[in-house]
Symmetry: D2
Amino acid sequence: MTSANPAYVLTLNCANRPGIVAAVATALFEAGGNIQEAQQFDDTATHRFFMRVVFDVAADIAIEALQQAVTPVAQRFGMGWTLRPKGAKRRVMLLVSKFDHCLADLLYRWRIGELPMELAGIVSNHPLETYAHLDFTGVPFHHLPVTRATKMEQETEIWRLFQESGSDLMVLARYMQVLSDGLAAKLPGRCINIHHSFLPGFKGARPYHQAHARGVKLIGATAHFVTADLDEGPIIEQDVERISHADTAEDLIRKGRDIERRVLARAISFYLEDRIILNGNKTVVFTG
Amino acid sequence: MTSANPAYVLTLNCANRPGIVAAVATALFEAGGNIQEAQQFDDTATHRFFMRVVFDVAADIAIEALQQAVTPVAQRFGMGWTLRPKGAKRRVMLLVSKFDHCLADLLYRWRIGELPMELAGIVSNHPLETYAHLDFTGVPFHHLPVTRATKMEQETEIWRLFQESGSDLMVLARYMQVLSDGLAAKLPGRCINIHHSFLPGFKGARPYHQAHARGVKLIGATAHFVTADLDEGPIIEQDVERISHADTAEDLIRKGRDIERRVLARAISFYLEDRIILNGNKTVVFTG
Amino acid sequence: MTSANPAYVLTLNCANRPGIVAAVATALFEAGGNIQEAQQFDDTATHRFFMRVVFDVAADIAIEALQQAVTPVAQRFGMGWTLRPKGAKRRVMLLVSKFDHCLADLLYRWRIGELPMELAGIVSNHPLETYAHLDFTGVPFHHLPVTRATKMEQETEIWRLFQESGSDLMVLARYMQVLSDGLAAKLPGRCINIHHSFLPGFKGARPYHQAHARGVKLIGATAHFVTADLDEGPIIEQDVERISHADTAEDLIRKGRDIERRVLARAISFYLEDRIILNGNKTVVFTG
Amino acid sequence: MTSANPAYVLTLNCANRPGIVAAVATALFEAGGNIQEAQQFDDTATHRFFMRVVFDVAADIAIEALQQAVTPVAQRFGMGWTLRPKGAKRRVMLLVSKFDHCLADLLYRWRIGELPMELAGIVSNHPLETYAHLDFTGVPFHHLPVTRATKMEQETEIWRLFQESGSDLMVLARYMQVLSDGLAAKLPGRCINIHHSFLPGFKGARPYHQAHARGVKLIGATAHFVTADLDEGPIIEQDVERISHADTAEDLIRKGRDIERRVLARAISFYLEDRIILNGNKTVVFTG
């Protein structure tokens, strides 16, 4: 999938009607683009059309020229669309709490270049020494303790940091606080949470204890966009592992850590590569 | 796991205290038994102990001698227990409705000897011609149509057939009727249902449509013992498969058939091999 | 994915260069086509481009008009291509031997319409009574016994049946005979075999016994196109299941049956839906 | 599985004959032991018996008393056996090379107590600065560069460090050097390697490139004990993930990292909990 030429990712969605693919492909071709990958989805229930195109162009073609090529097509079909240089790094802010397995995992994947992002900051309601064995070099750390009484002020500060750091995405990497409706409403499709159950089973608190009490034979984790409805946001990615009667709730927590970190990492990766498009309360994920 | 000598399966459960394994193993040894397999589980939450032992004995030792050897141990520890010749076939009655993928699958596994059971009968609320391409040779078929008004009479007839046929286990192989509390109460730990979702998510009707509407990324199936609480009985086995946004509800139904039939077949197999012991509203499943 | 209008599936492959998608999409649009699905793959190692497009047209547009629309594009880019009405059933000949689990499974999926194919015939080196409990209604059965001395004649007869029945695809559904190079050479990309191991591990005979002897912790199955090199043909689909030290070779055979039948069914389904394109000794499989 | 009393793990293996379980259970009971878990395996091919027992005793009972209780039983049946306090930490030496994903993962699991081991040292043929973002606090690091000419001296030094540090287990955590036969021979059942393929497929170098060239649809990783025969040692654990034609060799390397690290972590965990017993060139793994 490599190319000497600069590549771009175009995503779009609109009401479905004939000619969309031809119009988009022709516009890109006439602007000098060579399509490397294209994925599309036609939601026959809602008659909505979704597409993701990766293409490259000669080095002397500016993104503005591409935007000008796409704009009339987008207007004709009433598209929502995004166009970004492929590999351009999004800025991500991580919110964490005491459990740091997702945080450690994301930091590692970031350092070796597996997750193409810039870490705009780490916010925790626990102090820096909680993470003494993790290397935060190059990433601003913000200790923002929270109580019920100070939650509004703390969230205001989170929002300020998010904006001032130019963040694109907020990730709740086992952040054990529920975002207020107000903050959630500012981040539609831009805030990813990892819930430690296979939703919609075991919503709410202590899902591994719920799973143990119910006697399920598989446990899972779910990465989803945060909405005002707790644990009801659009699901991005899920996975499970087999357990047995012999597993205690503590065993589930241990086994669950592995599921949580890989599910969250995959969901973030999909986001960073412009693979996710919202479709009402669901997601289209072009996993390629 | 083969042996020229006759083999037996002993299952037991009791409050946990020291000396159980020693007492059981010694009693079996002194009765001439050679343990082939043994599995145990100590539920540290309830302090209950569960064990399954497979052992063989010389051909001239009768099961009565083995029962006499186990009885005093069982009395001393207050055990619930079962002792059966290994491979002795249980009698199974299948209840089905229009969809016959589980039925066809179970029939096949039965014919080739993969499921060591006798089929005591097939009960359907649809007529025989519904299953024109399946071979019921050697299995009594009973057409018992049901309406809301005749449900009590129909269930009475099912129960009569179950008893008269000497059935041990009732299997709801995509039987689209809910058993009444009264019938369910007669079959604790002896009636297995396959629910076409990964419980506790998507209880009730049309779970694949629920799953499609929620936008989950995995679908599943659950085999469980039937209790008066619909979809709340002890879970025996579960499995899942990956889906995507592109799958319609109909695609989920198709993919789900494969999950349903293998989950149900596994659960029945566990039952037939005395691998399941009830533990309150959960199961201990010694999968070996 | 349903549409009141007739739909078609176009597959194509050619050397990669700019403008292919635009040219194809424009040609289809101008011929009245509305693209429902499109998938493409650009093999950056070989610079070869692969595409599958599903589109619908108004009922009064004939396939010849579509062919005329595609032909000049295909010529310009030097494409190999196919165009077929979506859902048009391919004719499939099954070759089987003693073990009939794949056969029974394929028959069932065919009857309920899950596999959109016509069964052109079943060929076995065992007599009809081997399959007494399977319903072959509507499918010609041919008993073609084979010995080393008669292999050439038997294969000649198979080939004659394949041609006379208008078959498109030959499926070796646990057919325990190796096709001669000569017969294999007549069926490039048109003969699918199920090998009962996770290739390239455990080629050749008795793979479950090999797996047991090696002590692997997962077993698998592989569906692949048949070529003159035994077990070396292009792989279409694979899957695995977990096993343990406690599983005997016989247990592996039993567990393997489930893997074999679902892997083979998936591979055939991909073929019937024009989802497979050969790429040298590999396959492009647009699983959608 | 918790107990206020000290617990012990007993493993044993011997030729199979009647009375083993009774003798062991009785000896433990008479010594004051209460069995928490017991697993056994009777290899019917080799007539060898394997067992793992976890039991607790009153705090005033010394391990010597338990050893005295087991010894006569072990002698009577000709057992190989081990007895260790449950949770007693084994000392582990890690050998690494440039790729540090397994190393980072093992360090994390060690720090949070998920892997109950002491890290006796980290040996690398690359200098300390290679791992600038990992925290080696409390773990001796040894830079032992190696060339073909100095391999013997380097291995001698590794062996010296292993012995002097009192290490029980050597782990090749993506150590890209092949151990000499001489060093391998000193560590039977005490040196675990992670091979980045689903063995026995793709032995030797660059397995992901081999997998890409062959066009497999799943990739895997294998943790095994090191023997003189490269990639032929007893397999402890394996896992796989699905890939597609669109994955480049580089994609396989990236996806493979996740498989490698979880397979290696599981294998080490099994070792640390005395769950692995060698059975010729295979392993018995009591995964519980």
